[in-house]
């Protein structure tokens, strides 16, 4: 599957790379949906012998292929929320030298990066590769509610119902982009919603 090229933007917008196997005694790989393909791309028996894979399929069917890599540990979770306590526990027990690989949607990578940062890994040392949906995790700057998997701009805040403009301003702390009311001056004057990158 070809990778989506995000258009160049402001400095705040995260930039993703391409996963590569790095030296280290332990490797933690966290992926959702099509992110599994990025792991399959770099998997070698040596790397897998030291890898812990946490996968959230979100309807994708890569689980069997990942399990077939016979990583040291494999966990499949029904959602990020269901998997996050496991991620936290793995990081809590981890040692320096752990390599973290995040791949899949921006929301998954951002939230898992946040956990790794809080555990003490500099964000610049965490590898990421975007795969699959280009939907965004958005925070409404007005009510602070998070709306997951936003695909259109503008969109309606799932918490307060305001019409929000999708910005490229990003918060690593919140793992979310900023959504700002688009019709504050002229309520009801909302442009036609279209895909974020259309």
């Amino acid at each position: 599957m070809s990778k989506f090229e995000f258009p160049p933007s402001i400095k705040s917008r995260p930039v993703y790379g391409t996963l590569e196997a790095r030296p280290g005694k332990a490797h933690l790989m966290i992926a959702d949906a099509a992110g599994a393909e990025a792991i399959l791309d770099i998997a070698t028996p040596e790397l897998m012998a030291r890898s812990h894979i946490i996968y959230i399929p979100r309807g994708a069917t890569h689980g069997e292929a990942l399990r077939g890599l016979t990583p040291a540990q494999y966990y499949e979770g029904p959602s990020y929320a269901a998997s996050v306590t496991r991620i936290q526990r793995v990081l809590q027990d981890a040692h320096m030298g752990l390599q973290v690989y995040l791949t899949g949607t921006e929301g998954l990578m951002g939230q898992a990066q946040n956990e790794a940062m809080q555990a003490g890994i500099p964000h610049t040392a965490i590898q990421t590769e975007h795969r699959g949906s280009v939907a965004r995790r958005m925070q409404c700057v007005h009510c602070k509610g998070i709306t997951e998997d936003v695909e259109t701009d503008p969109f309606v805040c799932s918490h307060c119902g305001l019409n929000l403009f999708v910005r490229d301003h990003y918060s690593r702390r919140l793992a979310a982009y900023q959504g700002v009311c688009i019709d504050a001056e002229d309520p009801g004057n909302v442009p036609q919603a279209k895909g974020i990158y259309e």
């Binding site: 030296p23 280290g24 005694k25 809590q92 040692h95 320096m96 030298g97 555990a119 003490g120 040392a125």
Partner: protein
Amino acid sequence: MSGAEKIAVRVTEVTPLNELVTRFRFEPVAGGLLPTFSGGAHTVVEMADGDITRLNPYSLMSDPFDQSAYTISVRRDDAGRGGSLFMHEKVKVGDEMVISNPVNLFSLDLRAKKHLMIAGGIGITPFLAQIKQLDRAHGNWELHYSCRSEALGSYVDYLTSTHPNDVNVYYDDQDQAIDLETLLDGQPLGTHIYVCGPKGMINWVRGKAEALGWPREAVHYEEFLAPQPGKPFEVKLAVSNKVVQVGEHESLLEAIERAGVDAPYLCRGGACGMCETRVIDYAGNFIHRDHWLEDDEHASGEKIMPCVSRFEGKTLVLDR
């Protein structure tokens, strides 16, 4: 004027610690309080030695929150250019000197969950201040300190008596060495390494950490390079339109300053990058000694760090 702001101080104590190391205490001439600093900071000490003014950086080792005085420890280097000998032989209690405001190129990363300090010889000095800072904040740290012998182990007694569980000392002459691989293996996530000592030790620690998968951002190091003597050479300063002779025992930066040109600097030890200077033309060989420029920049012949690097050849023209 380049460099950090200056402070006039009086030497109030000169305390020999051992055969090689002497401690100096500076208090402000004007009275009042000195600026606070952060552990790992250094001050640049001006030494008026006859016709020569030397500016040497020394790590501050006193409590960063003690504003009454700064202390530094100077290791005598008999083969050096004379700065440390001047401090050891000429500086007496009551002398007035000029030092710079503290500058920190080796600060603690306070996001770290644990601070792992590795010191070699006189490289212990910045850690003395960092430990005082961390103790106040109840920080999690441990120190591994390698010295030549018990007789030359500056501050070993102080450290081991105040922090018996956190300080580990290794004596070369007793064939004790830091077991680095074992030390780095199994450190909790969020540990940062700080290393200060000879170049070989810094490279050893950085190399081992990289091989074990430590992030570059979690490995901090400081090595002050003293400018080394070398063959005299001539430099043309294009902007100031001056030709300056660089003497055997002075650095390029010192020669530029002697000619009355105000060149930027901060650390004077090849670390901070402040004095980076563009080369306009040259015919000869650079002797790069800094660890600021990348290898390809060293090879390019386009840049030089005049605080520690020299030149051998016919022509050197700098954009200064």
